[in-house]
């Protein structure tokens, strides 16, 4: 707890030195984003963390990212604009997620939190064990915590029952939780038995300049349906396998363009083989993010067949490129786009076919607005600046809250998580606290060097940029 007071003192003294008025209006935070998933691994969570961090740096906050080592990429790295990334050597268990023992990550994470003078710890993704660990340690160290949930879960099968219990334990004393859609909020509140007031909804965003329409790329003699998703069960690839032959039979000028890789690729290949559709169904394999736009602009209709989705980035990207979107009505998808830009269907082959036929008929008659006007509408719906602004508000609110002291935390754990799990984790929390005391005795905070700030109010990187800007 002494740690926290010291951090506070450092912060106030640094903000006093600041002469800018803006910094007095909203305090600047030292934020540490923790997740198992970060670049070079590719995916939605990774780009979310990166883009959000960049926008927060632009707003003058100090941001560092902690993740686990990827192969030979370990240690400390700097990305664009002085975004500092710690690749900590923690053992990877399964699917790029680290093993959790609750304790082994404490020494390194403590070192990061202390030397970077972190005030807010922001963990991402409920699949990431490191994020849960970081939340647990941050609370032990008396730091404010925020958690962003990126996915939806079920309630019935064994694995989700276990994850839900873990989530309950992990989130019951977290200061604030962020979800990407209202459906996701509902889901998280139910799963983790939370007070809905501490859960905010901040959607994801896309970079609209990356996804601009280009109608000249579209072939005029046929209609192309684009599908871009990982080829896994969750994304409804079996449905896609049912749709393709049915529609191809009815419309001889219909082509499919499928980007992505995964275990369900075999389903699509079988369909292609069985109905002799090699010239009309193209499987592009894994796509890099920069190539996605090039594929999207070749199509007329974007199809999404997900069975579960918290917030579908792909359909926003599709709409931003001026495509007509057809999607299943699952999870948070109905919230994402205005009604006239999307056609929602039930997640069945017949309903999706009906929806697609309607859209194809409309496309033939040419009654759709031009791709450029669609892009203009979607452009301002989801921007990273907006996401960063809203996240900043969450940080401002969280910074004013107190972190539960140990005895209150134990009481909260026992009362929220049931007598058995609650007691076990209360015991683990006590052990974690004792381990922290041991570490503070072995390596006292005063023996750790404070890191040189790259970003934030006293960031060297930012100053360099400001100095060079007037010259440009």
């Amino acid at each position: 707890m002494g740690q926290r007071k010291k951090v506070g003192a450092v912060k106030t003294s640094s903000s006093e030195n600041d002469t800018g008025e803006a910094s007095k209006v909203s305090p600047k935070h030292n934020i540490c984003m923790v997740s198992d998933f970060f670049y070079p691994n590719m995916g939605g969570v990774e780009s979310h963390i990166y883009q959000l961090s960049q926008c927060l740096i632009e707003k003058g906050h100090k941001v560092v990212i902690a993740t686990h080592a990827y192969g030979r990429r370990k240690g400390v790295r700097y990305l664009t604009n002085g975004l500092k990334v710690y690749y900590l050597p923690l053992q990877v268990m399964y699917n790029q997620s680290t093993a959790t023992t609750c304790f082994h990550s404490l020494p390194l994470l403590r070192c990061v939190f202390v030397r970077e003078r972190i005030t807010v710890v922001h963990a991402h993704s409920s699949f990431s064990a490191m994020a849960h660990d970081a939340l647990f340690h941050a609370k032990t160290m008396g730091l404010n915590t925020v958690f962003t949930d990126h996915s939806l879960f079920g309630f019935a099968d064994v694995s989700s029952v276990l994850t839900n219990k873990l989530l309950t334990v992990s989130l019951c004393d977290t200061n604030h939780i962020v979800c990407v859609s209202y459906t996701s909020k509902e889901n998280t509140v139910l799963r983790a038995a939370l007070n809905p007031e501490i859960v905010s909804v901040i959607p994801n965003a896309v970079d609209p300049t990356d996804f601009t329409p280009d109608p000249s790329q579209r072939p005029t003699d046929r209609i192309t349906i684009v599908v871009i998703s990982r080829l896994v069960y969750r994304k409804g690839i079996d449905l896609l396998g049912g749709i393709i032959p049915e529609l191809c039979l009815k419309h001889p000028d219909l082509h499919f363009l499928i980007g992505g890789e995964g275990p369900k690729r075999i389903v699509l290949e079988e369909v292609r083989e069985k109905y002799q559709l090699h010239d009309r169904v193209r499987l592009l394999g894994a796509l890099e993010h920069k190539d996605v736009r090039g594929v999207l602009v070749q199509g007329h209709i974007f199809l999404n067949t997900s069975l579960t989705e918290a917030f579908c980035m792909a359909i926003v990207e599709g709409a931003s490129c001026g495509l007509q979107v057809v999607s299943t009505r699952v999870g948070g998808i109905p919230e994402v786009l205005p009604e006239d830009l999307i056609t929602l269907c039930e997640p069945t082959v017949s309903s999706l076919c009906k929806g697609l036929e309607k859209v194809i008929a409309k496309q033939r008659s040419g009654s759709f607005p031009s791709p450029n006007s669609t892009h203009a509408r979607v452009k301002n719906l989801y921007t990273w600046r907006n996401v960063a602004e809203r996240t900043e508000k969450v940080y401002d609110r969280v910074a004013g809250e107190e972190v539960l002291p140990l005895e209150k935390r134990l009481w909260r754990l026992r009362s929220h998580c049931g007598p058995v799990a609650g007691s076990i984790f209360a015991f683990v929390a006590v052990l974690d606290f004792l381990f922290l005391l041991l570490l503070q005795w072995l390596v006292p905070d005063r023996h750790m060097d404070f890191a040189v700030d790259a970003t934030g109010p006293n960031g060297l990187w930012v100053k360099k940029r400001q100095k060079s800007e007037p010259g440009c």
């Binding site: 370990k74 240690g75 400390v76 710690y86 900590l88 050597p89 020494p107 390194l108 070192c111 990061v112 030397r115 390596v443 006292p444 005063r446 023996h447 750790m448 060097d449 890191a451």
Partner: protein
């Protein structure tokens, strides 16, 4: 010539001695404290007490004599290979850098890096055991690629001074390096 005291990363006091031989030749010496007699006593006593307990149960005198041997050999190996008394860095503009570390037994290991091979001297961060620390290192130029770095030579590897000490050494090294480029 000046003598300043700093801390290393585990909080032990170390002293930095900067000698300026001329405007383009400087020597930095970081000395770590000598082995304390208390520490030697603690290690020796613990080995001997352990040996005596084993002897008490087995009644085998070979245990006792091997304990004496182990402590003697261990102490010798420690001062000869592990315990570094002081490390020094000699920077001579336009010629190169000499890094030497002398062990408590008097053994000295010296390496010399020519100026043409040196790209720069920088302070870097690394994960070291369960800590993240700053260290000073020399970047070596890749002969095939003019902007690439072929390898890194870590300086003051066993004394591990803290950032304030490293910054001091770094600044005076840069003064010399900037004049000769």
């Amino acid at each position: 010539m000046e003598d300043e005291s700093f801390c290393n990363i585990s909080g032990k006091p170390i002293s930095l001695d900067c000698q300026s031989h001329s405007s383009f030749c400087r020597e930095f010496t970081v000395s770590t404290p000598k082995i304390s007699i208390g520490k030697v006593m603690v290690y020796t006593c613990s080995v001997w007490l352990f040996a005596y307990t084993v002897f008490f149960f087995t009644q085998n005198t070979a245990v006792l004599s091997s304990a004496i041997l182990i402590t003697l050999v261990g102490m010798m190996l420690h001062i000869h290979f592990v315990k570094v008394d002081h490390e020094s860095l000699l920077v001579i503009g336009s010629l190169g850098i000499q890094v030497s570390s002398s062990y408590a037994s008097g053994r000295e290991v010296t390496t010399f890096i020519e100026m043409s091979k040196i790209k720069d001297i920088v302070i870097n961060e690394a994960v070291y055991l369960h800590q993240i620390i700053y260290y000073l290192c020399v970047l070596l130029r890749d002969p095939s690629e003019p902007h690439g770095v072929s390898s890194v030579v870590t300086l003051f590897q066993s004394s591990k001074p803290r950032l304030n000490c490293l910054v001091k050494i770094y600044k005076s090294c840069q003064e010399i390096l900037s004049t000769c480029k």
